[in-house]
Symmetry: C2
Subunit: 353 residues, 2 copies
């Protein structure tokens, strides 16, 4: 039988005070010069202890305006590519930050999935309103969806750099350009000259940045830029061999495992004959898998930073006109680019003699 929960009114009755007094004691606050004597406070506290009262969060939030819930919307459905391997680390960081901020995290899993990716439209983005603000992660194209968020002044932060189309959007991304450049530097320092970049064309920001970092740094070193189109892994490996490359850069989404296996099948040992640097973490880390050299993306930190930023944005635009002194978020915090960390493992070596 649904026993009615204890309310502040119950406590108040027991302590012989008003509901308002209980509220004041609980929050230990005096918003408008309200004073409660220590004696009364104690009486209320006792009543609270005896009754086992605990606040109804729904009511608290309803009265307070904010829900203290921050949302996370993932465009890609997590399943098809075992995506959790990719998003997990972000979530860890997000969770950590949420803990510190004292907010709960709402995963928008109710949005319709179309073509293997979630839509923010229609049913989807309306639910966002539940949270005070929202983190957006994953590749994204639909500009219209975004516009709505902007129009309604809904606080949100992207995880991952936003380029041309969304240059004005708040995000926390990583500096792929610099990180990729450093890989070329590492190879050049070891004496590599025939350094290739294996990948398929893409217009997504990470790809663009990696390519730019590669291209610019090769030029800086006076080396020839060698792009190897990735279509069939076997053909690609052949191409790599033909060009007598001694090192290649590969992004995680471009089948590095398969490529390395194929290269070794052709007699090219990794890394003795050819170094393979991974531009990010492997998509499917498996026990027994290769331990890649390259760089790693600070996903947990990204998640944490993004949530903190979002939290600030929310604070900056609380609906309550009371707080006109709301802190504005400076532009350089609105778009953050974090650095990657170089990884020294088993797929980097000097070029063969």
């Amino acid at each position: 039988m649904p026993r009615r929960r204890i309310t502040q009114a119950d406590v108040a009755a027991m302590a012989g005070v008003s509901q308002a007094t209980v509220s004041f004691v609980l929050n230990d606050s005096n918003p408008s010069g309200v004073r409660i004597s220590e004696e009364t406070r104690q009486r209320v506290r006792d009543a609270i202890r005896i009754t086992g009262y605990s606040a109804n969060p729904a009511a608290q939030r309803l009265a307070g305006g904010l829900t203290q819930i921050l949302g996370v919307f993932t465009y890609e459905s997590t399943f098809p590519q075992g995506g959790r391997d990719f998003y997990g680390p972000f979530l860890v960081g997000i969770e950590h930050a949420a803990e510190k901020l004292g907010v709960d995290i709402l995963l928008f899993t109710s949005a319709r999935v179309e073509d293997g990716r979630r839509r923010l439209t229609r049913d989807g983005w309306q639910r966002l309103g539940i949270a005070d603000g929202c983190l957006l992660l994953g590749q994204h194209e639909d500009r219209g969806e975004l516009q709505h968020l902007l129009d309604t002044n809904y606080p949100f932060v992207f995880i991952g750099k936003r380029g041309s189309d969304g240059g004005r959007l708040p995000y926390v991304g990583v500096d792929y350009v610099a990180a990729t450049a450093r890989q070329v530097d590492r190879l050049a320092a070891l004496g590599h000259t025939r350094i290739g970049y294996v990948g398929s064309r893409g217009t997504d920001q990470p790809t663009l940045d990696r390519v730019e970092g590669y291209r610019a740094t090769m030029k800086r070193h006076g080396l020839t830029v060698r792009f190897v189109e990735l279509d069939d892994v076997a053909a690609t490996a052949a191409e790599v061999a033909d060009q007598r490359l001694t090192a290649v850069l590969v992004a995680p989404e471009n089948s590095p495992e398969e490529l390395a296996d194929e290269l070794e099948r052709r007699g090219l040992r990794v890394p003795d004959d050819i170094s393979v640097l991974l531009l990010g973490q492997p998509l499917h880390p498996r026990p027994g898998g290769r331990r890649w050299s390259g760089f790693s993306i600070p996903r947990e930190e990204m998640g944490a930073r993004a949530l903190h930023l979002l939290s600030r944005l929310v604070a900056a635009d609380t609906g309550r006109p009371a707080r006109r002194d709301a802190p504005q978020v400076p532009d350089d915090e609105l778009r953050q680019l974090l650095g990657c960390v170089d990884v020294d493992a088993e797929t980097l070596a000097p070029p063969p003699a």
Copy 2:
């Protein structure tokens, strides 16, 4: 400029109807014979679409409705032991189920962390109220916390079998007894007779069940039960060698990697000289790590099943006495035990000749 949330009143104004009408249209219900014409319904729906209205969950809850949000409470803080590796798979399953059920998932990250574990007491369990029900995962002892949930008739489901102390609680767990028994069978079938169980004492359900499965099955095969206490890994390895065991069972939390390494350091090859079966997935799967034979826990399925069960419980006891026709959840669904899957990899072999 402060963003005031759109409310039903706003929608109502735009559609030229009353707030109540909007509520009726939204819930598509007519509790006491209320009727809304299709024409009006459409007008309201349009207004909802245009304004981008979304219900405030706090208000919904306060008014006694459902939020279509299901909560997930993890006792262990995810960080200390890279817990996400452990909880991640559950979440994947939960997310999948949530998608199908059309509900959102709320991670209770706001609860205070004490001694590296979250507390459901005080601040903690109150927030639960936002969600329609809650999944509980992780080891847990505090009976008092639970009692509160039971008293308030709050729907919840444990992930992981609950034993003596909570024999009456809803849970979705795995059959460790049977799974462990099967491992002994596998070893016995290969001719092993000196089969040990390495572990430290524990009163947690998984440990109790694994031990029972081991003990019972060894007896059934007429083999001597050999427990090897795990304290110092080196000492344990020595003990294993001394007893001339040809196979050991190890739970993931009992440092299987270190043990295997130590055994090999002592000249015992795995699995040629000694088979090591892992009773669950490795806690920290790393590229380059060992590929364990043993069994694996269907964590994703557990997560999904648990969420489905929770969903049913919520439906069954919407606290409102209005729905006396609420479907009851049969006892055998309330406590589910799933089977584990045997894994055949690289750490199982016949005993040395």
